[in-house]
Amino acid sequence: MRKVAAAILCVLAVGCSKNATAPHGLSADDTAFQKKLQEELLDATAGTVIEIPAGTHALDRVLTLRANGVTIRGAGSDKSILSFKNQISGPEGMLVYANDFTLEHLAIEDSKGDGLKINDGENVTIRDVRVEWTGGPKTTNGAYGIYPVKCKNVLIEDSASYGASDAGIYVGQSHNVIVRRNRSEKNVAGIEIENTIGADVYENSATGNTGGILVFNMPNLSQPGNSTRVFKNKSIANNLGNFAAKGAAVASVPAGSGVVVNSNSKVEIFDNDIAENKTANIIISSYYSTNYYNRPGVDPKYDPYPRAIYIYDNRFKGGGDSPDGIELKTLKTALFGLNGHFPDILWDGYRDSKNLVNGLPPADERICVQNGGVDVLDADGPNKFKNPKVDTSSFQCELPKLTAVQLPGA
């Protein structure tokens, strides 16, 4: 009797069923692929290697991983493509909460939110991963391409990001980070290091973004960042009109910014090729210049001043000739004429007046430039650009050099 009853149930159930997994834009193959891949992610344990075969795989929901020690490996960032063009839930393409994670040799395309987000992971390797919004730069693209946040020991190498509406490669609130040999194009920010302690950013190419390489500190977060080295990069012609939604930190970055340091400290910029960035090849600025400062919304303990910034031995070419925004344009024309250009380094002029020594910050907190005849423009931002001046002598100083980031096992 029990068997009969069960059989009747089964028949009726199947007969009534109208294919519960309804079609929503994915082919049957892609639906099956998505289910299988997500199952592999659920079943993964330390040591698991999940292979993504070559081909374009359409997915409509975020892939999530929470197991430690997992490697996800494709056949190449131009071969194994995870496409989220028809995504209905997410918002990320891939969301990872795990330690000892490696993602390599694949592409994530057109996610509604961030391409790859890794939250609170230790020992993270991203290698030969491409994150791209294939429709080109758009405000409606996801914010970040490759986005480790609150992570420790991060290696991002030989990867690429195109079209992020915030930062292509964004490392936030992390410790001990290497970002090397990556390519970042057509994003608002090419590469951004934010509130991170200990980052080496080298041999990357940032071009065609709004801003090439950014080192920022934002208020209210888990830690202020310091100790980032930016070296041997190419930050060329980052002149794309800013397409970030207002309110995003990078929305304040003027188009034509090569390297930007905002409110961060202990930043070393050396041996880079920085060229043809039309606002300025290097900008040093304070959070006060971003339009977002307000007293009730910002932690009073937050330090808005860039301190101990050391710029040396870079190769500059062109740039500064057509700054973004009416204020900077007016300033440039007033100081250097229609055909002139800003010096390679633009400083907004916000200084911590509480600890000046003979008008200068303490020796270990200064902005120091050892870059041949390169000038700095003090834009006098605090006084609405009333008394800007080109200065070199105030920046003739040296700072102790930072040590290289060492990753475990490297």
Binding site: A13, T21, Q38, Q87, G90, N119, S165, A245, G247, P296
Partner: protein, 426 residues
Amino acid sequence: MGRLRSHATRDRGCAISRRGRLASVASVLRCKSSEHRERRHAATAKAFTACVAALLLGACSRQSQAPHFFAEGRPQKLSDWHMVYADGARLALNVGVVAYDVNTPLFSDYAHKLRTLWVPSGKAAKYDAAATFDFPVGTVITKTFYYPLPTGTFRESNGVARTYDQTVEFVNHQSASEGLNLDHVRLIETRVLVRREHGWDALPYVWNAAGSDAELARTGDALPLELVADDGTGEAFTYVVPNENQCAGCHAVDLTTKAITPIGPKARHLNRNYRYANGDDNQLRRWTSLGLLSGAPDVSAAPKNADWRDPAAPLDARARAYLDINCGHCHNPAGAANTTALDLTAFAAADRHLGLCKPPVAAGRGTGDHLFDIVPGKPDDSILLYRMMSHEPGVMMPEQGRSTTHHEGVELIRQWINSLPGTCVS
């Protein structure tokens, strides 16, 4: 007691549904009582009686079973747990399984929810004033998501009612304690949280089209539905069932431990009356008297969130309760969204921590071109409201768990932001 018994007897009658054969087969397979009083003493006897009653009705091919705790593994069917079950006429609760509700619920595309708790006999959860109660190993919590059916539509269509009216969906007593009337509801999914030795596990089950049982859906699902309003207008949407890892997206409220915990069973959410079979009672008091909970103070001394829909409650309390349950599982100081420094729990200081004048951190286009999370007095300049109004992945908040906009929730938060004093201009 006499009155109670008469209820129980009637419930055990296992009436054959007017929907015929399928329903009757299902009902005899799963005929059990949902009476939850006396869970210690009477469970076995009642199960036995229920089965005898079913046998008398003609075809009890399977003994009623007590709720079952699986110490490991993932049972393929919801019915394997014997917590809630469809008997053709109703979605019923097994003996010893207690229905509960929360003061203010998470919005889930207007789905209605039946929450149940089962704690192994002889064990009890430990009360905590702020955190989720410490439930003993073996505890099973279920949450069934369902919709009332719109009048005049076919069960087989995708139409489900967008309503707060619950009068048609309950079998009895204007609450789910006696189960749901399957003539009037469509069951969507049931999520199971089970407390095992290593901690909590989360398992999603999706109801089959016949509404007879729910199947394990580890990778989630996506169902096309249409919300039908009282005036007959429809809103098509995709109901997304989360995958197992996405369960953790909300239920791992501590990012560092990554441990899954239930969200609802906290004092402030549970401290309210529920309509039990034998009358109204405060849930904390009832759980204590049933032996499910130990260490609870008198209910007047326990914290209590407002009911977001209670017009008598202060606006601020309603808004904070709404943000607490809808956002606080990620936006808490230890949660996944602590990357943003925005704390929307009931405990957040009503300043920048709660988003007042706070610049966003990683909102991307989710800012909607606004500068601050909340601008006092200016809901339309506030990122928080903008993200609530959206139902687009990448913009909307919460990031998961809904595909539609909660209009009434938006209205509440709009009024609240309007009421806030101050300005962000410094």
